[in-house]
Each structure stands twice: as C-alpha cells, then as structure tokens.
C-alpha cells in the first residue's frame, strides 16, 4: 500500500470534495471510490467488490439536516487499500472483513475532523459577511475557492493519516493468524457472508414499509423459482427485475396522470 499512498491520498482528497463541498455528483460513493482506489493499486476487482459491500451496508446512512454520516469515502479508500495489501497472501473475503473492521474507526475520526472544520467555517462566514458589507465582493467570491483548497488539504492529510494507520495495522492480521490459527480467518470469512445479509437488512430498513413487504416476499419466491427452474443466468435476473421495476414506475406515473 505504501508505494501508492500518495496517489491514493490525492484521489481521496478530490473525491471527498464531491461529498462535502462541490457538486455532489456521487463520485465519492463507495461503488465508485472502491474500484478507483483498487485500480490505482492494480486490483480493481477487489475494489469493486468492497465498494459494493460498503454501499450496501451504509445505504441508509443519509445526511439529514445537520447530521453528518460516517465518511464513506475514507472508509472505502482505506479499507480497499488495506484489503488489496492483505489479499495477496490471504482469502479476499476474510481480508475484506478485517480491513473494514480497521477502517470504520478511522472513517469515524475523519467525520469528526469534518465536523471540526465546519465549526471553523463559522469564522470564514463572519469574514465573508464583513467583506460583503464593506463591498469587497471579489474577496467574498474568492473565499469559496480558498475554502475548497482548505477542504482538499484536510482530505489529503486525513487520507494520508488513515492510510498510514491502516498500513501499520496489517501486521496485526498476520499476528492474529499466527497466534489463533486459521480459525480466525474462517471467522472473518463467515462474517463476510453475514455482512451481505446486514446490507440487505439496511436496504429493507430504508425502503420496505408495512404495505410493501408482500412485494419483497413475492420477488424472492419468483426469483428463487427462476433460478432453480430456468437456465437464466444472474445478469438476466437483474434485467427481469429492472424491467419489472420500470413497468411499476410507469404504472405509478400513469396513476398520477389519471388523478390529475
């Protein structure tokens, strides 16, 4: 991981700008950050799998009002970098679980750094107000770009710190394996499968309501039937679900037009 530390930290600093300050195009989401960081290290496949897992588990952690959710950019970047390092001589799923376990507290620290910076921005706000009042609108305008640079620098420093700490923790993985034997890797492997269940639960918690449970159960039964009794492959099932979803969306739009 260490040879790639600098480019990963630069990339993560840019991606965290999308999350907090510019655009919100969602390039900072785990499903995008994961493969990007993985690609920098040369293991885009692990990055994509890891990004998908993180996207799923934290799908319902949304920024409402003043609430800042866990810094998923930092979580994904750090855990993908660590996982790629560990997966060279270990089971990838077990390495993913361990990397996530290390990266969660680091991502929480990054969120705290963001909160502290936003508190500091109150000073910038008062400065901007003074500039506006005295008619210095050019300074007022440039303040935005100055704060963007400040945000980028914070992202870079926090990313670098997280990556170094994650790298230092990689020794613990070998130590655990050495002291406790293969059972600990087996435990991490079981956890990976359970984490996919946790991800599905997060989606249910976010989207499923009392009157829509029946749709979920019917879909599971129908897809199970299709998987068992038809020669359809996985991607075809996704296509069927997307098509059905599209028809449902059209049905609701039609209902709106009828009511208006």
């Amino acid at each position: 991981m260490m040879p790639h530390l600098f480019p990963i930290a630069i990339l993560m600093a840019f991606l965290s700008l999308d999350e907090t300050a510019v655009g919100q195009f969602m390039v900072s989401r785990p499903i995008v950050t994961g493969p990007l960081v993985g690609w920098l290290i040369g293991r885009a496949g692990i990055g994509l799998e890891m990004g998908a897992l993180i996207e799923l588990i934290w799908i319902g952690d949304v920024p409402v009002g003043a609430h800042l959710p866990l810094d998923l950019t930092m979580l994904t970047g750090t855990s993908v970098a660590l996982c790629c390092q560990l997966a060279q001589d270990s089971n990838p799923e077990a390495a993913m679980t361990y990397a996530l376990g290390i990266a969660i507290p680091l991502a929480a620290l990054s969120t705290e750094a963001e909160i502290a910076l936003r508190r500091f921005h109150i000073r910038w706000l008062h400065f901007a107000q003074r500039m506006a009042f005295s008619g210095h609108l050019r300074t007022f305008e440039w303040l935005n770009y100055l704060v963007l640079a400040e945000q980028w620098l914070k992202g870079f420093l926090v990313s670098a710190a997280c990556l170094i700490l994650a790298h230092l923790s990689s020794g613990l993985y070998s130590l655990l394996e050495g002291v406790l034997g293969g059972k600990v890797i087996e435990g991490f492997y079981y956890a990976h499968w359970l984490l996919l269940a946790l991800g599905c639960s997060a989606v249910i918690d976010l989207l499923v309501e009392k009157n829509t449970w029946v749709y979920l159960i019917l879909t599971i039964v129908a897809m199970m039937g299709l998987a068992v009794f038809s020669p359809l492959q996985g991607v075809h099932l996704v296509a069927i679900a997307l098509l059905a979803g599209f028809i449902l969306a059209l049905f609701f739009v039609g209902k709106r037009e009828a009511s208006t």
Binding site: A44, A94, L100, L125, Y189, V238
Partner: protein, 284 residues
C-alpha cells in the same frame, strides 16, 4: 424617477447570467457551517445576478448582506428556491422604491417558508430513493459477476454515475428554470411534478432488485444442490429479518458490523462446528 433609470436598464438578466448562476449551484455547499449552513453558498450562487441588478455598490453590498441570513435545504432541490429568488430580485428592481422593501420581505419569506419542505422532499427523493435505487442496481450487477469476468470493472460505476446524474442534474436544472419562470408561485407547482409518485414507484422497483440480490448472494451453492440452495436461502432470509429488526431499533450499521464480526468469530471457534472450506473470491 431619473435616479431609477440606470437600474431599470441594468436589471435585465440574460440567459448567460442564468447559466452562470446555474453552474454556481454546484458550489452551493461551499463554506458549509453550523451557524447558517448554506447561507454563504446561496449568496455565492446569486452573486452574478446581484451584481447585474444592483449597479450601485451600496445597494449591491446591502443585497449581498441580506442573503447571508440562515439558509439550509437540500443541495439539489434548493435550485427551485434559487431560480425563484433570482426572478424576484429582478422584479424587485423594476418596482418603485416604496414597494422594494415589501419585495425584500417576500424574498426572505419565500426562502424561510420553502427551505424546510423542499429539504424534506429532496432528502426523501434523492437520499432515500434515487441514490439507493441506483446503488442497488450497481451492487446487484457487481454480485452477478457479469462485467468482472470480462475485466470491465469500470462499466458498473460508470452506469451508476450516469443514471444517478441524469436524475440529479435534470431535476436541478428543471428546478432552477421553473423557479425562475414561476417566481414565488413555484411552491404551488411543485405537486405537479409527481415526486411522490416517483418515490413510490422507485421504492417498489428497489424492492424487486433487493429480491434478486437476496437470491444472488446464495446462488453459488445452486450448482451443487437445489435443496442446499433453498435451505441456505431460507437461513439467509431469517438472518436478514433478524438484522432488520436490530437496525429498526436504531442500532447503527457500524455497531452491527462489530456485532456480526464477533458472532462470526464465535461461530468459527465453536468446537462442534467443522467449518466449510474457504471458497475463492466470488464463490465457485
């Protein structure tokens, strides 16, 4: 009357000004802070128009300071308010001076009155519906292993970004244009867009995808035995139910992660369990 003539001439906001303002909406969250949230970003977006409609420096400074009041809303949906405020500022300058104070109050009232409902709608539409839907499509495609096999890892993230940003930039642009066209009446026309119906439709579509995802996770054992697949799926669904109950009790995903890890390690060290062979990445 003669004093107001230059203002009248300068108060025309061109399409280019509007385009510049729209571009600046992507910087709405600049200097986000816990005192007045998006107030700086809001003013930053309006600045090109304020410069145009207030040619007198004192008036301009006053207008900029006026917009530095508390403002917090959804970053995408705020474009409805921004468009309306641009129009109202333009209209304000066309009015005689005694009526301008009243217009200022109307602008402030529109911002205060609309930011809450718009934020709630945006949170529900984007954070709780469109983003999870796009994310779910991407995750389901990742688990289908369709693109990884060919080494095209960039296809799924790109697909996610394109689908999400069509909705994001589309609604942002529509909001800004409609806000500008309808001024303070924009609040009355929000219902026309059918966001609530879109939320319901997309949520149901997400549930269908979730059904596929739950089957996918267990698909790796299907090639070995159908009975084992059904058993594993049933067990998996029961665990999903248990975790959903825990999440519903406001346990955070991070806390759940460590609980799951602890449980899995206990399972691995349980003496009577002989663990299955560890499978390679992506199952057999």
């Amino acid at each position: 009357m003669t004093e107001e003539k230059p203002s009248l001439r300068e108060a025309r906001v061109t399409a280019l000004d509007l385009a510049y303002c729209f571009w600046r909406t992507f910087f709405l969250q600049g200097v986000w802070n816990f005192e007045r949230y998006l107030s700086y970003g809001f003013t930053f977006v309006l600045l090109p128009v304020l410069k145009k409609v207030y040619p007198i420096p004192e008036e301009r400074a006053q207008a900029v300071t006026r917009h530095m009041e508390y403002f917090n809303s959804h970053p995408y949906m705020a474009s409805f308010i921004l468009g309306a405020v641009v129009r109202m500022e333009e209209e304000k300058q066309r009015q005689p001076r005694p009526k301008q104070k009243q217009k200022e109050e109307e602008i402030s009232a529109l911002k205060v009155g609309m930011m809450g409902p718009i934020a709630a709608m945006g949170d529900n539409l984007f954070w709780a519906t469109i983003r999870p839907y796009c994310g779910l499509i991407a995750v389901t495609l990742v688990l289908s292993h369709a693109f990884q096999i060919k080494g095209q890892f960039w296809v799924i993230p790109l697909f996610f970004l394109v689908v999400y940003n069509i909705a994001h930039v589309g609604i942002r642009l529509m909001g800004f244009i409609q806000g500008y066209r309808q001024s303070d009446q924009v609040v009355l026309t929000l219902r026309k867009y059918g966001f609530q119906q879109a939320i319901r439709g997309l949520r149901l579509a997400s549930i269908l995808l979730l059904g596929v995802l739950i089957v996918f996770v267990n698909l790796s054992v299907l090639e070995k035995e159908v009975g084992l697949f059904v058993l594993k799926l049933t067990f998996f669904t029961a665990i999903v139910g248990l975790f959903t109950f825990a999440l519903h009790r406001k346990i955070s995903p991070s806390q759940m992660f460590y609980a799951v890890l602890l449980f899995a390690l206990m399972l691995a060290f349980w003496p009577t369990l002989s663990g299955p062979p560890i499978l390679p990445m992506g199952g057999p």
